[in-house]
């Protein structure tokens, strides 16, 4: 029954397109599908009630317009049976909504897998730190997962409230400092799924995004290998950028880690493989040399309130650093 309803919803609603990257009505994962099926069921009942009641209201106002100033209409005070009936009818509809709601809550609270892939998420103002504890991978703002595999996330905050939301894959869960919330999701098809913080967290709340990239098992394992690899010491043009990166005057190592170098700080995102990411600045800019240079020149202009300040970098410094960072794949 609910399958039919959700099918109808998908057909009729303009908003069903999977071309819309954060469309909750185009689920691409089990968690999001449970919710969207439930929503479709509720929506059709709501639409039905809407049509009937509004039609009744409009009909009444038109049909019973005043025709004569003299005659008073029948001074009806009430009708007990009618009132009982229209109290029970909504109660029945609500019961029809309540039962699948409780069922869905049960399903959503338990990951449908004995061996999910574990990911730790630490939300910061305004970027996402991701750890895969079983695999020894640390990265930021881009989460790779194998297609179909259930992922369980443990959500923590380094500062204020945030909310972890990948609309096409799962309902959101808030991140509360001092607590660890857990949720699960999976992706049914390979692709890139956009996520965004969904709890006001300060100036750049609107710019705190992330991506989930679902890949085949082979591609995922390749990615894990690449992420665990320590980048070799750079030669050629990237070498000058590498030197700048760890030099105390340029301050990069005060906040960032690049494995295999002296930069081991954990204030900002881990940059060991930043060259391999599709975006930078937490999903705000495509990862191109131009954008990276723009970020380095003035992070605060890109992200209001950014904790990464405007640094003492000349244009040459910027080019060298971009060359180095892009080489970290």
């Amino acid at each position: 029954m609910r399958g039919i309803f959700s099918g109808l919803a998908a057909a009729l609603l303009v908003a069903c397109s999977a071309d819309l990257p954060q469309n909750t009505l185009a689920p691409a994962g089990e968690n999001a599908r449970i919710i969207s099926d439930l929503f479709a069921w509720i929506f059709w009942w709501a639409l039905g009630v809407f049509v009937v009641v509004e039609a009744l209201l409009v009909y009444t106002v038109i049909r019973f317009r005043r025709r004569s100033e003299q005659a008073l209409p029948p001074q009806t005070h009430g009708h007990t049976q009618l009132e009982i009936a229209w109290t029970i009818a909504p109660a029945i509809v609500l019961a029809l909504i309540a039962v699948p709601t409780v069922q869905a809550l049960g399903q959503l609270s338990e990951p449908p897998s004995q061996q999910p892939l574990q990911v730790e998420v630490i939300a910061h103002q305004w970027w996402w730190e991701f750890h895969y504890p079983e695999l020894g991978v640390v990265t930021a703002n881009e989460l790779h997962v194998p297609v179909g595999t259930v992922v369980t996330t443990r959500l923590k905050s380094a500062d204020v409230l945030h909310s972890f939301w990948i609309p096409r894959l799962a309902g959101k869960l808030d991140i509360i400092p001092g607590r660890t919330n857990t949720m699960w999701f999976n992706a049914n098809e390979a692709g890139v799924y956009l996520g965004q913080c969904a709890e006001l967290c300060g100036l750049s709340h609107a710019l705190m995004k992330f991506r989930v990239i679902a890949q085949s098992n082979e591609e995922f394992e390749g990615w894990v290998r690449d992420q665990k690899a320590v980048p070799p010491a750079p030669t050629g043009p990237a070498a000058s950028g590498a030197q700048l990166f760890v030099s105390p005057q340029k301050l990069c190592a005060t906040c960032h880690t690049v494995a295999g170098t002296e930069a081991k700080a954990q204030v900002g995102p881990n940059l060991t493989h930043v060259g391999s990411r599709t975006t930078i600045a937490a999903g705000v800019l495509e990862n191109t040399p131009e954008n990276m240079a723009r970020w380095l020149r003035d992070p605060v202009a890109v992200k209001p309130g950014s904790k990464m300040p405007k640094l003492p970098l000349s244009e040459q410094d910027v080019s060298a650093l971009v060359g180095y960072l892009q080489s970290l794949r």
Partner: protein, 606 residues
């Protein structure tokens, strides 16, 4: 100098004037206080509307740069705060003030000076709340100000301080008013007006006052804890030190949910007066409508965590609150059927007031149904914190409360001013506002389902949100246009509107039995009430029976300065905490002096 209370010299002579500009400062007349509330709150409503228009201009197109993140965050915070605390609530209060004593056959409220105090505290509190705009930044943490973003470490400026202090001060105003109306309604009804013969607007005011009295202390606790965290280094909401940000959310929403019923019940009361009047039939199922209002008041305490479904309370808690939230939809829905049944087989006169009342019902149905879709906690996991919620909020608060308030304005304007508003302009206002509102808030449902979070100052293109946002912006400006039509009508009709007389609508309740505008003393003779819809009963049902002959001397409460000065003192005492302790000390002394003088001042002298 005459000595007051045996200790303090009288500083100012007791004011006696009932006319002129100065008399507005010292008035204790419920009718004038109602007008003060109405004009002041409408001004704040327009300010909040302008804040909305700026936001809509910013969001009309993707990647827009009209205002930056910091400004935008202040705009949505202050828009909501101003609309809720300085717009809808005091607009409702303006009706409580003007109309309740008239509906129950009283000459004024139980505590006239306390009534004036409520108004002046509202005015000063509203200014305090907005002072951040003048001192480097208003509150920018959202109107529900979740901890721990509000900690001094993450919000160092004065903005959040003004949030805390402003709301604490405004809370005093709301509590004072609520106590006043509770006592007035319980104690000062005309003889024969039992509770079940009260007008429905009076009933809803009673329930609202009870909700105010019980809900405001809850947020007061939270605000004081936040005040202490920010000013005195406590850790109620600081996770690292044993506190919990969720504590704020629970306290806030325990207040916040009853608060939304505080926002809607008065409008429901207004609509419950207007539909019977213009349909020339009694309210269908009066006892059930009363009872459902009371039930909503009670049950409103059991649903708060539906604002916290995504916080991680667990499936059991979420399921329980889903169920209680669905259950509360029943008394709400039942009222809608009662309203339609009131119109059914009536003889409906299509006035502007009626249009707004019907518009309320039509739009509240939509807001109520979208509310049912988020009552399901699992469905809400996608909807929470998106524009889908923003859509719901505005259908119930704008389509609901604001349309209800405008219905009340068109309905009671003749009683307040003695003249009728222009009907044609009123209907133009209605259609523009109705179309504008649906254009502004309808598309937000879609944008939300397509994944647009709320409280974002910009968005990229390619998300599928562009069209919906542009439509919303256009709708917002259509609403603004409709308000210009209204303002023109309201001002023009003061001077050239048709004279209304006592009873322009063939009304049902006692306020229509006295002149428009009412004399200072309201009723020359206190009426004796024989049935619900007391005035209708006298006109069409009762035969014989003379009104009680009450030729007593009429005593009216005299104007007073002290409410104004007490309010000013309180506002300075609170606001001074954000600037300089000396200001607080001065404010405190002024407040104490004013309250002391008030306590020894008789209600009437000579």
């Amino acid at each position: 100098m005459a000595v007051v209370g045996g200790a303090l010299p009288r500083v100012l002579p007791r004011p006696t004037g009932y006319t002129g500009w100065w008399s507005w400062l010292t008035t204790v007349d419920h009718k004038r206080i109602g007008i003060l509330y109405g004009v002041t709150s409408f001004a704040f409503f327009l300010l909040a509307g302008i804040e909305a228009l700026v936001m809509r201009l910013q969001l009309a197109t993707p990647n827009n740069t009209l205002v930056g993140a910091g400004t935008f965050n202040q705009l949505f915070t202050m828009h909501a705060l101003s609309m809720i605390f300085l717009g809808v609530m005091p607009l409702s209060a303006s009706f409580f003030n003007f109309i309740i004593p008239l509906q129950i056959g009283a000459r004024d409220v139980a505590f006239p000076r306390l009534n004036a105090l409520s108004y002046w505290i509202f005015l000063f509190g509203g200014i305090l709340l907005n002072l951040g705009f003048l001192t480097g930044g208003a509150a920018d943490v959202g109107w529900f100000a979740y901890a721990n973003l509000t900690a001094r470490a993450y919000s160092p400026g004065l903005g959040v301080d003004f949030y805390v202090l402003g709301l604490l001060v405004l809370g005093v105003s709301s509590l004072a008013a609520a106590f006043n109306f509770l006592v007035t309604i319980m104690n000062m009804r005309a003889p024969g007006m039992s509770l079940m013969r009260m007008p429905l607007f009076t009933w809803m005011t009673l329930v609202t006052s009870l909700l105010l009295v019980t809900a405001f202390p809850v947020i007061t606790v939270g605000l004081i804890q936040l005040l202490f965290d920010r000013f005195y280094g406590t850790n109620f909401f600081a996770p690292g030190a044993g506190g919990d940000p969720l504590l704020w959310q629970h306290l806030f929403w325990l207040f916040g949910h009853p608060e939304v019923y505080i926002l809607i019940l008065p409008a429901m009361g207004i609509v419950s007066e207007i539909l019977p009047t213009f349909a020339r039939k009694p309210l269908f199922g009066y006892p059930v409508v009363v009872f459902s209002g009371i039930v909503i008041g009670f049950m409103g305490w059991g649903v708060w965590a539906h604002h916290m479904f995504t916080v991680g309370l667990g499936p059991v808690a979420n399921a329980v609150f889903s169920l209680t939230t669905m259950i509360i939809a029943i008394p709400t829905g039942v009222k809608i059927f009662n309203w339609i049944a009131t119109l059914w087989q009536g003889s409906i006169r299509l006035t502007a007031a009626l249009y707004f009342a019907v518009g309320f019902v039509a739009l509240f149905i939509i807001g109520g149904l979208s509310g049912v879709t988020h009552a399901s906690a699992a469905a809400d996991f996608q909807q929470q914190d998106t524009y889908y919620i923003v859509a719901h909020i505005h259908y119930v608060l704008f389509g609901g409360s604001i349309f209800g308030i405008f219905a009340g304005i068109y309905y009671w304007y003749p009683k307040i001013t003695g003249r009728l508003m222009h009907e044609g302009l009123g209907k133009l206002h209605f259609w523009l506002m109705f179309i504008g509102m649906n254009l502004a808030f309808g598309p937000m449902h879609v944008a939300g389902l397509q994944g647009m979070p709320r409280r974002i100052f910009t968005y990229p293109s390619g998300m599928g949100w562009d069209l919906w946002n542009m439509m919303s912006t256009i709708g917002a400006f259509v609403i603004a246009l409709s308000l210009l039509v209204f303002l023109h009508n309201a001002f023009r009709s003061r001077g050239t509107g048709k004279l209304a007389g006592n009873d322009p609508w063939d009304g049902r309740t006692l306020e229509w039995s006295i002149p428009s505008p009412p004399p200072l003393y309201n009723f020359a003779t206190i009426p004796t009430v024989k049935a619900v819809d007391a005035y209708w009963h006298d006109k069409y049902v009762a035969t014989g029976g003379e009104p009680e002959d009450g030729h007593h001397a009429i005593h009216l409460p005299q104007p007073s300065y002290w409410p104004f000065f007490a309010a000013l003192g309180l506002a300075l005492a609170a606001g001074g905490l954000a600037f300089h302790p000396a200001i607080s000390v001065v404010g405190l002394l002024l407040m104490l002096f004013a309250v002391y003088s008030w306590a020894f001042e008789p209600v009437t002298e000579g």
